[in-house]
Symmetry: C2
Subunit: 288 residues, 2 copies
Amino acid sequence: VKLALIGVGLLGGSFARAALGCGEVDRVIGYDVDAQALAAAQAIGAIHEAAPSAAAAVRGADLVMLAVPVGAMAESMTAIAPDLGADAIVTDVGSTKASVIAAARRSLGPAAGRFVPAHPIAGGETPGVRASDPGLFRKRLCITTPEPDTDAAALARVEALWRALGSRVERMAAADHDRVFAAVSHLPHLLAFALVAHIAGEADADGMLARAGAGFRDVTRIAASSPRIWRDVCLANREALAAELDGYRALLAELRAALDAADGERLEAVFRTAAECRRAHATHLDAD
Amino acid sequence: VKLALIGVGLLGGSFARAALGCGEVDRVIGYDVDAQALAAAQAIGAIHEAAPSAAAAVRGADLVMLAVPVGAMAESMTAIAPDLGADAIVTDVGSTKASVIAAARRSLGPAAGRFVPAHPIAGGETPGVRASDPGLFRKRLCITTPEPDTDAAALARVEALWRALGSRVERMAAADHDRVFAAVSHLPHLLAFALVAHIAGEADADGMLARAGAGFRDVTRIAASSPRIWRDVCLANREALAAELDGYRALLAELRAALDAADGERLEAVFRTAAECRRAHATHLDAD
């Protein structure tokens, strides 16, 4: 099985290494707009060969993995469409699904039916192929969001591959996926970025950060994530994200009013709802 | 050295066990309004003896540790003041300092000068003495916020004790402490509680949480913290916290407008500021 890997970052690199490691893939041809990243991917063995273009990478490939920022999906699809084999399966690891599906319909031509939208719930705050890890997807959830016209064999093939990598696979409708992850992933990333950006703007930012403890460390870990990738995710899912952000901001306004009124009961009620909910889900969330 | 421990929770229990472990304290008399917590503290060896009241606990004590929620400090101080020995040193582990100092001036009587305000930057999201850990303060920062009239010998004694427990000690003015920790501790706790409470209010909260990944896990870890303790912290430091919250909310309003306008440049600029700042402080924050 010949894999074309378009985008050799943390997720793409981890996917290729994992697929090679379990024998699901024999050869990987990579392409990335960043020549240094491409060279690094080859140096660490995530790809066998560096192609001069995305189109060149997909020629003769059985499987094409698009692991580029979601804002670059349409462009990558347009670039590869003319050179895709008649049976080539195309898939992705994008954090948003409706926007990527729309791009596939517009840009993949006759291969659009063989596009299998997927989102592994795994990652890390250190971007780049050097941080890639072939075990990244083990015991993780991978969500596929097939459309009514998604080729059944292509879907089965991609889902079997994720299972071989150690992931649990779940199918969802793309709109449901985007709404759920707006809440539990895109909003938390935006909030963490905003928290660190807010403190970075304080007169004594360095002094504050030097004294920060483990709570701050954990809350802000994902604020070290790739700004480009998360800009794209926020734009690609901006309606669902805006709705979540509005709900969150309304709750912050309530808490602000409770502070003003020294309304300890209201503060404690919100904190208690949160603590009980977080503890109830601790087994699942904190399992690793 | 005889220690009276008022409040046998996570911090108090850890303090007593650590002080016993390194021989800085020989005997611990504990008191807590929660009789079950007091029995648990005795069962795990954090205290030798359970006193029937805070006043009874401090009789004959060389050192009194107040490890109660900051909203209960004044009441505890009033309760112990008449029974404090003439040389007894009183200290605390409260997350806010100006409010605790004000309580000491009002409620500790002649012992107010021997009150040493302290705040170890350590803790955990699982409340209670059963989660206590004698190693909790090792390699952590402990901040003292002495006043001009704080007894120098009492201050030196308390700081030496924290050093014996493995902490680095730093002196700050109480107002500076409260401003810094409003930003890097109290605001993050409030935001994490609000995030989980917001999602708990969604129609499909359980489905969302079941699919959440490592980013959500880390951002919300501290949302399992004690609602009562953090209600008190927010109330005790509400002016500084409200100022931080207002700055944060202004930034969220900007990000919301950027989403509306599909302004990727603005989103990315804020994310980049955050990512660069978080990465620049990673060595300190992520060291453990």
